[in-house]
């Protein structure tokens, strides 16, 4: 979900025009009877129900779709109980599915990557970004299996486990993520709808609880860490619709083995958007889809970023009435904002959180990651237009 914010503005404009054109086609009698178009006018494939996810192939890249990301977040702990959060994200943004220029530098895809490490004890939040074109091998992603890289940042498959390496100067991660639970397919068999128009959707799955071991580098010091990670992989071509200003996304790992993913689009009037949704993953891996009526998010205390001026809610109440779940989500460190001026140009908050609350009668604790977009700068719907 989180990757929505990186859609390339210049291209999005033409994509949106295309979507507009498609909508108009839909109004023409005779065409409405036909199946929805499977590609955009400029040749990108639209996310559609006919796609069945298979692994490990679908860990790999899907270059026929315009946008794709691999999102790793996690909470880690050192032997001395120091706690850390980390985020490593690889984005692939399609620009032109078939460039006519035979140059290897001709931009078919752009590759961006974000790295963030939060030292909870010192409240230090370090970020770095990478932005490259594919083609000459400086960044890319395999289509056969998980192998995505940007410079020397890389996520690849090692047996069933994911190897994740990214470092920038004095900080970085070098981690091994066991698969844990099988992939969770969100939405309808992995098709996650984001808007009213059928094509405005993505193929979306998560590895919700990946036992993690490895090393963290902090100010040049190597720290052995263990913990749990969450991986999101999502690809599609068109996503947002007008009026969707931003979103709040939660990935929570509870101590009873339950994992919970929820995202909610915020509309301009402050109301939640109908296409918000979530997924409840039981300890055994049983998956339940939550639609917008089945959960409630209530923002609490806000933290104002001194650099961007955005006021992010860093405390939330998350309620899932069907599960009798009442949870309080709190940022472990308030200042976990990323300013990605050199790549996406979007400022957002992405950080480690702690969870307290109850499910039914039982006291529950947990950890997780929270992403909040659209609190500063242009509304995300405008970013898309």
């Amino acid at each position: 979900m989180s990757g929505l914010l990186v859609v390339l503005r210049g291209r999005a404009r033409t994509v949106w025009t295309t979507v507009g054109a498609l909508l108009m086609c839909g109004l023409v009698p005779g065409l409405t009877a036909q199946a929805p178009r499977s590609t955009t006018a400029d040749g990108w494939r639209l996310a559609a129900p006919d796609y069945a996810l298979q692994f490990p192939r679908d860990h790999g890249s899907h270059p026929e779709y315009r946008i794709e990301w691999w999102y790793y977040t996690g909470n880690l702990e050192a032997a001395d109980s120091r706690r850390f959060g980390y985020q490593v994200t690889f984005f692939r943004i399609g620009v032109d599915p078939a460039p006519t220029n035979p140059s290897r530098w001709a931009v078919r895809d752009l590759h961006m990557a974000h790295l963030a490490v939060t030292d909870i004890s010192t409240t230090q939040h370090m970020t770095a970004e990478r932005f490259d074109r594919g083609g000459v091998g400086w960044a890319g992603a395999s289509e056969r299996t998980l192998d995505v890289w940007n410079g020397d940042w890389r996520a690849e498959l090692d047996g069933e486990a994911h190897r994740l390496r990214a470092a920038d100067g004095s900080f970085g991660v070098d981690l091994r993520l066991e698969a844990g639970k099988p992939p969770t397919l969100h939405g309808d068999e992995g098709l996650s709808r984001k808007g009213a128009e059928p094509g405005n959707a993505s193929h979306y799955y998560s590895m919700t609880r990946m036992p993690t071991t490895g090393q963290l580098r902090l100010d040049g010091e190597l720290i052995d860490v263990t913990g749990a990670s969450w991986m999101d992989h999502e690809f599609g071509t068109t996503f947002l619709e007008p009026g969707q200003v931003g979103w709040d996304w939660f990935s929570l790992q509870l101590d009873d083995g339950t994992d919970l993913m929820i995202y909610e689009f915020r509309r301009g009037d402050g109301a939640p958007d109908d296409f918000s949704s979530g997924t409840w993953v039981g300890a055994t891996g049983a998956v339940t889809r939550l639609d917008r009526t089945q959960f409630m998010l209530v923002p609490g205390r806000r933290w104002s970023s001194p650099t961007s001026g955005a006021a992010y809610p860093v405390e939330w109440r998350v309620e899932v009435p069907s599960r009798q779940a009442e949870l309080t989500v709190e940022a472990l460190v308030d200042a976990q904002e990323l300013d990605t001026a050199n790549s996406t140009g979007v400022t957002y908050w992405e950080g480690a959180v702690t969870v307290r609350g109850r499910i039914g009668e039982r006291e529950i604790q947990g950890r997780g990651y929270l992403e909040m977009t659209g609190y500063v700068g242009r509304p995300m719907s405008e970013v898309f237009r």
Partner: protein, 880 residues
């Protein structure tokens, strides 16, 4: 004039005892003001000399500055760069260069030149950078007008969005304003033979890189640049900005050790040094030439001070009698020289800057034709220029003035007052010594001619030339003495009584005349030598062109870039040329710059179709005699033919093996033959096209030489080809005849500045002769009056003085020619060979020499008119 002598005694005493400044004003300045023409002539002569030296220095600096400005803008914050062997860095290598990120940021670059057709109808050269904005931003700062208005820098993504389209180009605000271009304007980019429609998607603010090349800068995306410049698969270089810029030495070594064969790491400034080195010989010779004008100007100072001394012997006597020391008198005359030189310098430096504006047009024509294309601009005057001019001109002027000033100071009071003393006594007794000096100097010249150049510069050759000039100057008193002995009868026969008088006057003043005549002789010798050298060179080139240029049509694209990448001929254009029914054969010519040898000299690596050349072409081989057989052996083989300049400078002989850098590393090539070439002094190595492609990959050619059916008319075929190209292509097609004319035009433009410099030197020298004659006239005031008394007409007196001037001119020209021939031998066989490495067939341009002799006689006679008028004035008024 009469009032000069009556310096009031009281004043003199006061001056002497109390106030040297007043004395200087009364004695020197007033005299200079009284005779403004002579003073002005002296100052003008020196001004010209200083101006020429400064102009050439500025023009030289300007011609590289244009290149360096382009270099700066391209280099940005780059600490190191990876370059390939001649053809660039293959894209494919980049995957293996990931480790470079350990050292710093890495960015690809294509740096080329193109031309832009603006909406105002003009066509402008542009420095084009093909960049990857995602990588490039730390290297060069780009501020776009539209974003600056919003008070921020564009993000990488926004810049990328602007450049991504293959029609997008970003120009500078300065350039756009100048040519009526706006954001969104449609413009045409002319790259090689192709004309591309482009849209101006952004304008760079008028600061930083946009400013350096006067705004003549365009940005393209690297992919678009590869496509438009026919460089798919290749980069011109990869730039590195070190994380730790202080550790540049270690980083350079470490990277060099890790780079695969075929790639080199260097500092950006190295390219500037290569170009400077390339131009060094050219600039050195030009600078040497410019100093001749200054030296000749110094003769004027000598003359003026001499006149000053001579015309005021009586005052000198008076001053001495009143107790002025010799030292004070010496000071007065040296003060005069310093004043003149100071004025000359003060005016000469800014005049030099103005002259440089003209000179740069001339030199950059040359530099462009020979070496690089760049926006050559005259650099602003620096204090250094004033220091240089003052530091050279004033001490030299003092040295020149010291001779007459010492003579003046030596005057005894009694001799001066009586007028018994005559300046510069007869030098007959010195003749033996002078002859010896001349002989020694000529001997020295011979010996220096045999020595090798120093660092590629003909220092000893120049020494030899100076020795010949010195020897020639030393011959002047001998010649004048000889003239005194034997010339009288001829003068009397040809010019009657005026001739006799003129001869007598000259004979009586051999000592006085020597210096002025020597100056003229030196200038004329230089002119003769240069005329002989250039004439010989031109004949040689004409012959070479006739032998070598055999093809009917020569196809090329517009505009060569700074020191290197030539624009290419597209395959599309080549196909169209080849498809013409009259075309029999095509040779695709390729040329790239390649560093060679331990010093990394930039040589030219050329490739041509040897089979076509063998069948149709006509290289002139120096070695071996059967050059064509040697060339046939080189077809497809790892073998090359090299130009004479290459063989000479790199000391390579036929049969030896040379190592050339290729994308796969250094490879050995056998030298099969040495051929004559006058197109470049950098040295050419040429291989068969198939050999070239095997080592350097398939590259588009820089030009086509086209051989036609003998029945076809080249002019018609040329027009048909051009008409068939359509608006999206533009080729330059020369026929054999127009190319020959073009070669000679470039040749003549190259030497235009040489002649301009020489003309100035001769002008100054003739003025020197005129002032010398004026001196003589002033000295002979009484005699001239006497002549009138005994019945000489004004016309006769005038004729006499003009005759003296013309005689000096003819004598100077005669000796100048003789010395010039010797000098030309040194220029052709020593200095030229050491600087450029060309074989020039010696040839005397008889007609030019005859014409110049007549011209010099007339010019000196005309220059004699002013002293003649002064003389008739004396004669008329019967002064003293």
């Amino acid at each position: 004039m009469a009032s000069w002598s009556s310096l009031p005694t009281r004043l003199a005493r006061r001056c002497l005892t109390r106030d040297p400044v007043t004395l200087f004003r009364q004695f020197i300045v007033r005299a200079l003001v009284r005779d403004p023409r002579r003073s002005l002539a002296t100052v003008a002569g020196l001004t010209l000399g200083v101006a020429v030296v400064i102009a050439i220095r500025l023009a030289n600096a300007g011609s590289i500055r244009g290149f360096e400005a382009a270099l700066d803008v391209v280099a940005g914050q780059t600490s190191l760069e990876i370059v390939g062997a001649g053809v660039g860095v293959p894209d494919g290598q980049l995957e293996h260069l990931g480790w470079l990120r350990d050292y710093g940021l890495v960015s690809p670059l294509i740096a080329r030149t193109a031309r832009l057709r603006a909406p105002d109808g003009t066509e402008q050269p542009l420095q084009v950078l093909g960049i990857d904005v995602l990588r490039d931003r730390p290297f060069r700062e780009y501020q776009l007008v539209e974003f600056a208005r919003g008070g921020r820098d564009p993000s990488a993504q926004e810049l990328l969005a602007l450049l991504l389209d293959s029609r997008s180009v970003v120009l500078t605000e300065r350039f756009a304003t100048r040519h009526g271009i706006e954001l969104g304007s449609a413009v045409e980019l002319v790259i090689g033979d192709r004309v591309h429609d482009a849209l101006v998607r952004g304008l760079l603010l008028d600061e930083g890189p946009a400013r350096v090349v006067d705004g003549q800068l365009a940005l393209l995306d690297v992919a678009v640049a590869q496509l438009l410049f026919d460089r798919i698969g290749w980069l011109d270089r990869v730039e590195i900005q070190l994380h730790d810029a202080t550790a540049i030495d270690e980083a350079e070594q470490a990277i060099a050790a890790r780079l695969p064969d075929g790639l080199r790491v260097q500092r950006p400034a190295q390219r500037g040094r290569q170009v400077e080195k390339m131009l060094a010989a050219f600039h050195f010779n030009l600078t040497a030439l410019s100093y001749i004008a200054l030296v000749v100007g110094l003769f004027l100072v000598y003359n003026t001070v001499a006149v000053s001394v001579i015309s005021r012997r009586r005052e000198i006597g008076t001053l001495r009698a009143l107790g002025a020391t010799r030292r004070r008198l010496l000071g007065l005359f040296l003060g005069e020289a310093a004043l003149l030189a100071g004025l000359g310098t003060a005016v000469g430096v800014p005049a030099g800057w103005l002259l440089a504006q003209g000179a740069i047009a001339l030199t950059s024509t040359t530099v462009n034709a020979l070496y690089i294309t760049s926006a050559a601009t005259v650099p602003p005057l620096a204090w250094f220029d004033l220091l240089l001019a003052g530091g050279v001109a004033i001490p030299l002027a003092l040295a020149a003035a010291a001779i007459p000033a010492l003579e003046g100071a030596r005057v005894t009071p009694i001799a001066a007052v009586r007028g018994a003393d005559r300046f510069a006594s007869d030098q007959r007794q010195r003749m033996g010594r002078v002859a010896l000096v001349a002989a020694v100097l000529f001997g020295l010249a011979g010996w220096l001619s045999t020595l090798d150049p120093v660092g590629g510069l003909p220092l000893y050759g120049l020494g030899a030339a100076l020795a010949v000039i010195g020897g020639g100057a030393a011959l002047v008193p001998l010649l004048l003495t000889w003239l005194r002995r034997v010339g009288r009868r001829a003068f009397v026969r040809w010019f009657k009584v005026e001739g006799m008088l003129a001869h007598a006057n000259l004979s009586a003043s051999v000592g006085r005349l020597t210096v002025s005549v020597a100056a003229l002789v030196v200038s004329l010798a230089m002119l003769a030598a240069i005329a002989i050298m250039v004439g010989s060179f031109r004949d040689t080139v004409t012959y070479w062109v006739g032998q070598t240029l055999r093809a009917d049509l020569f196809v090329s694209a517009a505009g060569r870039g700074p020191a290197g990448p030539s624009p290419t001929i597209s395959s599309d254009a080549e196909r169209r040329v080849a498809a013409h029914p009259s075309v029999v054969a095509i040779d695709q010519f390729q040329s790239v710059d390649l560093p060679y040898g331990a010093d990394g000299d930039l040589i030219i690596l050329g490739a041509g179709n040897f089979e076509v050349l063998l069948e149709h072409g006509g290289l002139l081989f120096k070695e071996p005699e059967s050059g064509r057989d040697a060339m046939a052996r080189a077809v497809g083989a790892d073998a090359v033919v090299v130009s004479e300049a290459f063989a000479l400078k790199q000391r390579v002989a036929v049969g030896e093996t040379i190592a050339l850098e290729t994308p796969q590393g250094a490879r050995p090539f056998r030298v099969e033959a040495i051929y004559y070439d006058y197109s470049s002094d950098r040295g050419l190595v040429v291989m068969d096209r198939s050999t070239f492609e095997r080592h350097y990959g398939a590259q588009r050619p820089a030009g086509l030489t086209v051989y036609l059916d003998p029945a076809a008319d080249p002019v018609t075929v040329r027009e048909e080809l051009l008409a068939g190209l359509g608006p999206d292509h533009r080729l330059f097609i020369n026929t054999n005849a127009t190319l020959r004319a073009e070669v000679l035009r470039i040749f003549d433009a190259t030497f235009a500045i040489t002649y301009a410099l020489e003309a100035i030197a001769i002008f100054v020298a003739i003025m020197g002769v005129a002032t010398t004659l004026l001196t003589l006239v002033l000295e002979r005031r009484e005699e001239l009056a006497m002549l009138r008394l005994v019945g000489a007409g004004r016309a006769q007196i005038r004729r006499m003085v003009v005759l003296e001037a013309a005689m000096l001119g003819v004598v100077s020209q005669a000796l100048g020619l003789a010395v010039g021939v010797v000098l030309s031998v040194i220029l052709i066989y020593v200095i030229n060979v050491q600087s450029f490495g060309w074989t020039i067939q010696f040839d005397l341009p008889i007609w030019f020499l005859v014409r110049s002799t007549v011209l010099v006689a007339v010019a000196t006679a005309v220059a004699g008119l002013y002293p003649a008028r002064v003389a008739t004035g004396f004669a008329g008024t019967g002064a003293r």
